[in-house]
């Protein structure tokens, strides 16, 4: 992502709105944009999902490969999560090697899913020491109007939960659904106009400061956190968004089912 000069007029406007407890599109501080989740939409992928959050659209696709287990973990397969934001997604995304922003995006989404332990890598073993499944989750942005983090995380877990292990094509047994035992959900907050808002749009990201990403699992267990960008926050601010994340994650978890 190219670094746009900080747009001071936009910052001022966002600060004014915050004073009146409003946002560019009229949402409340923790209001969400309209959300749509569709699965099974990519014919060549073994699992797939499309998430639409306002004008933000992302795709997730799951593919499988056979791998030889690592010598020190002969009973385990692997889960890989790869994240690309290509120029299609917005005029601020450019071709070339991944920017620091894109690397962070991919790693944070990956950690949220992986650290929840939703995929049991022992289940992916076919013949110990010889053959195991590698599950590859590819996240692909189509339209970036802000908050790619949450859109990717949601599309990712939904695609995994829709995936069929293609054992027949690889001649190692019968096809069966991939076992996904948990539903890690990410909620992201951006400091805009001096306070944290939920599900920021691209313009709010552009005129905002730091962001915090929270991934929660069942029983509100914390699986992953990340603070990004320049900015200072207090323990009280964190506690406020953590409270919101607990209720919002619970809502989203139902949608994934």
């Amino acid at each position: 992502m190219s670094a746009p000069t900080v747009p001071n007029l936009l910052r001022d406007h966002l600060a004014d709105l915050a004073q009146n407890d409003s946002r560019l599109d009229g949402r409340e501080q923790f209001g969400a944009r309209e959300l749509k989740l569709e699965t099974g939409i990519l014919p060549r992928a073994e699992g797939s999902a499309r998430v639409t959050m306002g004008n933000t659209i992302v795709l997730a696709g799951v593919k499988f490969q056979l791998m030889t287990p690592y010598p020190d973990r002969p009973n385990q397969g692997g889960l890989m999560c790869s994240c690309e934001v290509r120029p299609i997604a917005g005029r601020h995304w450019e071709a070339g090697p991944p920017s620091p922003e894109a690397i962070e995006l991919g790693r944070v989404v990956d950690r949220g899913i992986r650290e929840s332990g939703c995929i049991d890598v022992d289940d992916l073993c076919i013949i110990p020491g010889e053959k195991a499944w590698q599950v590859i989750l590819d996240l692909h942005a189509i339209s970036d109007d802000g908050n790619l983090f949450d859109a990717f995380a949601l599309a990712g877990i939904a695609a995994l939960r829709s995936a069929i292990v293609p054992a027949e094509r690889f001649e190692v047994g019968q096809d069966s659904p991939l076992k996904v035992s948990k539903k890690p959900i990410m909620c992201s907050y951006h400091k805009v106009g001096g306070r944290f808002v939920y599900d920021a749009s691209y313009k709010e990201e552009l005129g905002g400061d730091e962001r915090i990403h929270i991934t929660l699992g069942d029983d509100n267990h914390v699986h992953s956190l990340q603070k990004g960008l320049k900015g200072i926050f207090t323990a009280d601010e964190f506690e406020e968004i953590m409270e919101h994340a607990k209720s919002r994650c619970a809502e989203l978890r139902k949608i994934v089912d």
Binding site: R44, N55, R86, P87, A89
Partner: protein, 238 residues
């Protein structure tokens, strides 16, 4: 072209494995405005292919060295998503994608009125999210729809179709198996109003007569696709 093998791809009635006659196209659907943040966009589903195209611009061309004083440049990025094929594709640099991006750019620059936007850049991003033979054709055709959707003036649309040969029979609009086991592939980019060409590739083996038949199939198919494009653009400026 993977070469003959013993795969039988045309049945005793002269029909193809998916039931098409030699000259038939696969089903095609076209939708515009599918990317809210883009200046123009198109989703084209063609058989099991799905291409999504965004157009951004005209915008300032940078870095400066790509600027042309007297016209715009078109920057095309064709890419196959990792999950678009049976075997996953590793992301990253890829000579095939670079070449397809270049010939697509060459074709589009042939019809866009570039001189209207000196020193500008028009960005065309083609993502193949599902692939089933002929993705370069689907991408190029969808790109010309997305340019029209963005209101970029063009002398004509570009429609691209690939005919080829399987089991020594010339067929229109190769599907995946026909592409894998067939003996030739002739993709063309055709201007529907004049019948002129802006894109042409071919590989495999075609006798002069077979070549003529494949060529004619492509020209006829282009006219058919053109009607669908006009419908999708709702009587727009083509």
């Amino acid at each position: 072209m993977g070469g003959y093998g013993d795969v039988q791809m045309i049945d005793e009635n002269g029909l193809r494995m998916d039931g098409r006659k030699p000259g038939d196209l696969r089903p095609i659907s076209i939708e515009t405005g599918v990317i809210p943040v883009a200046d123009g966009s198109c989703r084209m589903v063609w058989g099991t292919n799905e291409a999504i195209v965004a157009v951004y611009g005209p915008m300032e061309a940078h870095p400066r060295k790509i600027q042309r004083q007297d016209r715009a440049v078109i920057d095309v990025a064709y890419n196959m998503a990792p999950f678009s094929t049976t075997d996953r594709i590793r992301p990253g640099f890829n000579r095939r994608s670079r070449e397809i991006s270049k010939v697509t750019k060459d074709a589009l620059e042939s019809v866009v009125l570039l001189e209207l936007y000196p020193r500008s850049k028009i960005r065309v991003s083609i993502e193949i999210v599902s692939a089933e033979a002929g993705t370069r054709c689907v991408g190029l055709t969808a790109a010309s729809v997305a340019l029209a959707d963005a209101g970029i003036p063009m002398t004509d649309m570009v429609i691209s179709v690939a005919s080829g040969k399987v089991n020594d029979v010339v067929v229109c609009d190769l599907n995946k198996e026909e592409d894998n086991y067939g003996e030739a592939d002739l993709p063309m980019g055709i201007l529907p109003n004049t019948g002129e060409l802006v894109f042409l590739q071919m590989d495999g083996d075609l006798s002069p007569d077979e070549f003529k038949q494949a060529w004619d199939y492509n020209v006829d198919a282009a006219m058919e696709v053109h009607k669908l494009m006009i419908d999708a653009l709702k009587g727009g400026d083509n």
